[in-house]
């Protein structure tokens, strides 16, 4: 991936637009709405962020924010224990796995878990990095059963292995398919399917 640094002019676009909006007098243009406030953590998110370092301390998490989500990154060997804690700790009780995605950053693969707690109504993004040479992340099907098909899909499209998965068969592609079409290295158009 070409590392794209955030360009300063892009970051300041909302304020620029706001200032040009005041000076714009062309009658044909519809009046613009004021630029919305930046999206950030809500009250529950802030509380969760403050709370997390306690129960997750043994897993050495990196706690960060992305818009309205609290983002936690852990090492893959600590993933299973961290997930078990996230699910069972009464102050966290993340009982629902919303989504499991694999992202190919070319220098690494990242598995992203979007979690939701019904009891506390808070949400969390959990991230795990794995290598390109032998991408492998322990399966969390033991913690959230719903991860089953998402992990099978992750193997199909990205070749990330999930050791511990009860039924690691091909799900979306057909069995004879070669390669991992989700990866950035997989060609877009010029490949022969049949």
């Amino acid at each position: 991936m070409e590392e794209v640094t955030p360009q300063p002019d892009q970051e300041s676009t909302p304020s620029q637009e706001a200032s040009s909006q005041e000076s714009a007098t062309a009658p044909a243009r519809a009046p613009r709405q004021p630029a919305p406030p930046p999206i950030g953590l809500d009250g529950r998110g802030e509380a969760l962020k403050a709370l997390l370092p306690g129960p997750l301390a043994p897993f050495e998490p990196e706690v960060d924010t992305a818009l309205d989500e609290v983002v936690v990154t852990v090492a893959s060997e600590r993933l299973l224990d961290a997930c078990a804690t996230l699910r069972s700790d009464p102050s966290l009780s993340f009982d629902y796995l919303r989504c499991l995605s694999v992202v190919d950053y070319e220098d690494r693969f990242q598995v992203v878990y979007h979690l939701w707690s019904r009891e506390h109504r808070h949400k969390l993004t959990l991230k795990v990095d794995t290598t390109v040479e032998s991408p492998s992340v322990p399966s969390v099907t033991g913690v959230w059963r719903g991860a089953d098909w998402f992990e099978r899909e992750g193997y199909d499209l990205f070749g990330v292995e999930f050791p511990g998965h009860p039924d690691p068969r091909v799900l979306i592609l057909y069995e004879e398919f070669e390669g991992f079409p989700g990866r950035k290295s997989f060609p877009f158009h010029d490949y022969q399917e049949w």
């Binding site: 794209v4 909302p14 009046p31 999206i39 989504c99 995605s101 992202v103 059963r145 979306i172 989700g182």
Partner: protein, 371 residues
């Protein structure tokens, strides 16, 4: 040979689909059958896999809307909203009021038309031919309205990043108001026809039961989750767009069986009518329908996860942007995909004749399952 050995039966493997008319698309399941009883089931998906996620990485943001139309081809507006919502969230873009109202009206009408199709096919699955006529009659009214607004009956490509593609027709509000009484009447007629029909009750009560905890474990969302007694609706628990401005109820079931999953959708149609009525009342009469986005939309570097309530459940879009005009990665969390995982535990120990009913009650759309 003992008596037990002599009576021992052998599991028979029955293949159903992928071109079976009652699998609601190209879905295949392999059933292990002991007599009439299903011992185990193995669902196979992927026959409709078009690589939408990978394709998205090569398209401009505004072009991806068409791909989303083709995911859930019964609830197009709701699916479009999930994508434009994710991009707007990442760009922190304010959508004009009027556009939001038109979006909500279209989405809720779309929910009704989707559930109407479900209602009809549910009848067919149970062996009743009439409900599909009722369902399609109401669906047709809504599809005609959509055609007037967007020019297309199904693949609308109408939502844009920051608003809508173009003004709806001048008589849009009048048209919606005109069509609502007929739809309301249609829902009640359909309800009277099928819901408490004795044969239908006998076919659906207590079949394919899923407890609330199991439903959560398997990641079910939408009406199928609420049928198991879990009152989670993204429109209420995490309102997106302007759903926090409407007053509506969330129906929940008691038993989590096939009948409950059906009844949830009938009740949801009534609630959608309620939302459309409120939206028509509150909607500003004039105003812009699109926020001004300069040139090609380029969301800043970063990531956003946007969730929306699709007729089938929670559709999530995980968007990773590197600051360019195309997404770096776009992951779609389709509701039917997660719902379908629960088919296996639901089908165990039911009868072969009920398999179609149970599958139908999940209301899957294969375009979305396979992407």
């Amino acid at each position: 040979m003992t008596e037990a050995q002599r009576l021992e039966s052998v599991d028979i493997l029955v293949n159903m689909g992928p071109q079976h008319p009652s699998t609601h698309g190209v879905f295949r399941m392999v059933l292990w059958v002991d007599g009439e009883r299903i011992v185990d089931c193995d669902p196979h998906i992927g026959y409709l896999h078009r690589g939408s996620e990978k394709l998205s990485e090569g398209e401009l943001y505004s072009q991806i809307i068409t791909l989303f139309d083709r995911l859930d081809y019964i609830g197009n507006f709701n699916t479009e909203l999930a994508f434009v919502g994710a991009v707007e969230k990442l760009m922190n873009l304010a959508v004009p009021e009027r556009a939001e109202y038109i979006r909500v009206i279209l989405c809720e009408l779309n929910r009704i038309s989707s559930h109407m199709l479900f209602y009809g096919t549910m009848g067919l699955d149970a062996g009743a031919m009439t409900p599909i006529m009722y369902g399609f009659r109401e669906r047709e009214r809504i599809q005609n309205l959509f055609e007037a607004v967007t020019g297309a009956r199904m693949m609308h490509n109408y939502f844009r990043i920051g608003g809508l593609r173009e003004e709806p027709p001048d008589d849009f509000v009048a048209r919606v108001r005109g069509v609502l009484p007929a739809i309301e009447q249609g829902i009640e007629e359909g309800d009277r026809l099928l819901t408490y029909n004795e044969v239908f009750l006998a076919r659906s009560r207590g079949i394919g039961v899923l407890s609330g905890q199991e439903a959560l474990d398997y990641g079910l969302t939408g009406p199928s989750l609420r049928a198991s007694g879990i009152p989670d609706d993204i429109r209420a628990i995490e309102p997106y767009s302007i759903y926090d401005r409407f007053d509506f109820d969330i129906p929940i079931g008691e038993n989590g069986d096939t009948w409950d999953r059906y009844a949830m959708r009938v009740e949801e149609m009534r609630q959608s009518v309620k939302i459309v009525k409120q939206a028509l009342e509150q909607m500003p009469e004039s105003g812009p329908i699109k926020a001004q986005v300069r040139g090609i939309p380029r969301p800043p570097k970063g990531e956003a996860y946007f969730r929306a309530e699709n007729p089938r459940g929670e559709i999530g879009v995980y968007l990773v942007s590197d600051g360019g005009d195309k997404p770096y990665r776009l992951k779609i969390r389709p509701p039917s995909f997660a719902n379908l995982q629960a088919l296996r535990p639901m089908l165990r120990n039911t009868y072969v004749a009920d398999a179609v009913m149970v599958l139908g009650s999940l209301d899957i759309v294969l375009g979305e399952v396979d992407r």
